[in-house]
């Protein structure tokens, strides 16, 4: 094998690995805060990517209707929870978050009237739609059962994945789509050619990681989220609502998923169910990180990306098999190293 191929595969691996890293980090975050293993992460990717692609093609994506509908249901759930103490402020806040917010996005899209907007606007709209879906998904499916066991949450998570994937098929059809690249420039350094898109992937990944680091390290809400992850009862005792932390975690995860999708869709054709497979690779990284360690997850994600790149070069038929087999030695090692873990109770 010559150096050029080696470098090329590494570059490819790192580009994909950066995206898996983002997804893995989101999974770790959601699990730490809510104990939900976020299988629907894949749908956030698909929805982000295909919403962006549809908007760029001047079509109205079905996801906005889903966001509006889920908002209405979330609002109904809120009203039901508030029934004992119907404070005007709470209700107004709920109307703003669940009803006004998705309708406002719809309004903007409607005003565009099917003209493809510019790339930045399309990206922002796609992110907002998926963020809304993520937020309402937590409100509807997970908040009411937040106190149950990890297993129950996992079952709910699988259910959400299947339902959202079904919606994906309805909205976007079985055909794959591609979206426009964020930048079509390219630079060549030595033998390597860096496309604008791959540079965007690195840049956005690094910016997001720095942004998350600042959020968790320096803001009150970031710290509150960490507190919930470290000690749920302790957090409640200082007045941090588990539901608030859960909503923020899902919001972050859905935005991260959507960004990943938007970064990938100019490079690869995405189908309604591709997101799941991509999310699964982030999941492997998260498992290697034990669902707790952020740095380990990010490193593992780069490894997963590189293994994928090399195996698709040498044994492309077995690419997925090789990548997913990575998880086996890790699980065996972990189960040998760790004593039996009891389910956390609270």
């Amino acid at each position: 094998m010559n150096t050029t191929i080696l470098l090329f595969l590494l570059q490819d691996g790192i580009t994909n690995g950066a995206i898996y890293a983002l997804l893995g980090l989101a999974l770790v975050l959601v699990f730490a805060v809510t104990r939900v293993i976020l299988i629907p992460q894949g749908e956030f990717i698909t929805f982000g990517a295909l919403t962006y692609a549809s908007l760029s093609a001047g079509q109205m994506p079905g996801t906005i209707k889903l966001a509006v509908a889920m908002g209405v249901v979330a609002f109904a759930f809120d009203l039901f929870t508030f029934r004992k103490a119907l404070h005007a402020r709470r209700v107004l806040r709920s109307v703003a978050v669940n009803i006004v917010f998705p309708l406002a996005i719809w309004g903007v899209m409607w005003a565009l009237g099917g003209r493809p907007g510019n790339i930045a606007l399309n990206i922002v709209l796609s992110l907002l739609i998926v963020a809304a879906i993520g937020l309402y998904l937590y409100r509807i499916a997970f908040q009411p059962i937040a106190h149950t066991s990890v297993l129950v949450l996992l079952i709910a998570s699988v259910g959400c994945h299947l339902a959202l994937q079904g919606f994906g098929l309805v909205f976007f059809g079985a055909e794959g789509q591609r979206g426009p690249a964020i930048s079509s420039d390219a630079i060549t350094i030595g033998a390597l050619r860096f496309t604008g898109q791959s540079i965007a992937v690195y840049g956005i990944t690094i910016a997001l990681i720095i942004g998350l680091w600042l959020f968790f390290g320096y803001t009150l809400y970031g710290k509150a989220l960490r507190a919930t992850a470290v000690n749920r009862l302790g957090a409640r005792l200082v007045g941090i609502r588990t539901s608030l932390s859960g909503q923020i975690a899902f919001l972050l995860a859905s935005v991260i998923g959507a960004i990943s999708g938007i970064l990938i869709v100019p490079i690869t054709t995405l189908y309604y169910d591709t997101g799941f497979l991509i999310g699964l690779k982030g999941f492997i990284a998260a498992i290697i990180g034990g669902l707790v360690s952020y740095p380990l997850t990010a490193t593992a994600a780069i490894l997963v990306g590189c293994v994928e790149a090399f195996s698709s070069f040498y044994a492309s038929n077995y690419k997925e098999v090789i990548v997913f087999t990575l998880i086996l030695p890790v699980l065996v090692l972990r189960s040998l190293a760790a004593p039996a873990v009891e389910e956390e109770k609270d």
Binding site: L220, A224, R226, A227, N231, L237, V238, G239, I240
Partner: protein
């Protein structure tokens, strides 16, 4: 029903059960404004269970009203907002975060200006915490962790502080410190509900006391009366140091 004039916390006919086993039965408890009240009782009497249920961590059958508001149905977080605060038996600190962040989160619900004053107040009460503000909570000594747990609870400027065995596992000199601080809180306008194994020390600083046995209150009254009650002396005060001679 309007709560009695100065009753801050009023618990009426409280029952708390773990499955079918009732750990707290028919308990009536009252804490008035500017009062230190202590609950003493043997291991397993149900003290922790009662405090946790008053805080909303465990479901309670019966009435709980706080500051004139019925709080028996509302979430823990809303009880915190109403001014009720618990320092639980196991402290429940944010172990991987530093002292200052733990305190900051204690003030999660209140505005920035009040939080700044709370910081000053807490650092005055516990100068040790100020020295260690960059240290991770999980690496603090037991006594420091207890101080941090109390400090974090005080950051939210509570009306009533419920302490579950603040002296548990601490050296006598630190225990004395903690009890001194508890009595200072009263002067600062914070009422205290104190659960303690160390009955002697608790009765010394308390205004009133309840004695709990097998899930029920069997005695209550002024702390000084309880301290001189025959039965209490025999079961909780007289044999304070017997355990130590066994070594």
């Amino acid at each position: 029903m309007k709560a009695q004039n100065s009753a801050l916390l009023q618990v009426t006919d409280a029952h708390v059960a773990y499955g079918k086993v009732e750990a707290v039965r028919a308990v009536n408890l009252e804490v008035r404004t500017d009062e230190i009240v202590t609950i003493i009782g043997a291991n397993g009497a149900g003290k922790t269970t009662l405090l946790n249920a008053v805080m909303g961590i465990l479901p309670l059958k019966g009435g709980v009203s706080f500051a004139g508001q019925d709080v028996s149905r509302i979430d823990i977080e809303d009880r915190v907002a109403a001014g009720l605060s618990l320092v639980p038996e196991h402290r429940e600190l944010f172990a991987t975060m530093n002292v200052e962040d733990n305190l900051l989160l204690g003030a999660f619900r209140i505005d920035k200006a009040t939080a700044a004053r709370s910081f000053e107040h807490v650092y005055n009460l516990f100068p040790r915490l100020k020295e260690r503000r960059e240290q991770l909570a999980g690496t603090l000594s037991g006594g420091e962790q207890q101080m941090l747990a109390m400090g974090r609870a005080l950051m939210g400027a509570p009306k009533l502080l419920m302490l579950d065995e603040p002296s548990l596992g601490l050296a006598p000199i630190i225990v004395a410190d903690i009890f001194r601080i508890v009595s200072e809180l009263k002067a600062a306008g914070v009422s205290v509900l104190l659960v303690e194994q160390n009955a002697q020390a608790a009765l010394k600083i308390a205004d009133r006391a309840y004695v709990m046995e097998l899930g029920e209150f069997i005695l209550d009254g002024a702390a000084s009366d309880i301290a001189s009650n025959q039965r209490v002396v025999a079961s909780y005060l007289g044999f304070q140091h017997e355990g130590e001679s066994a070594i």
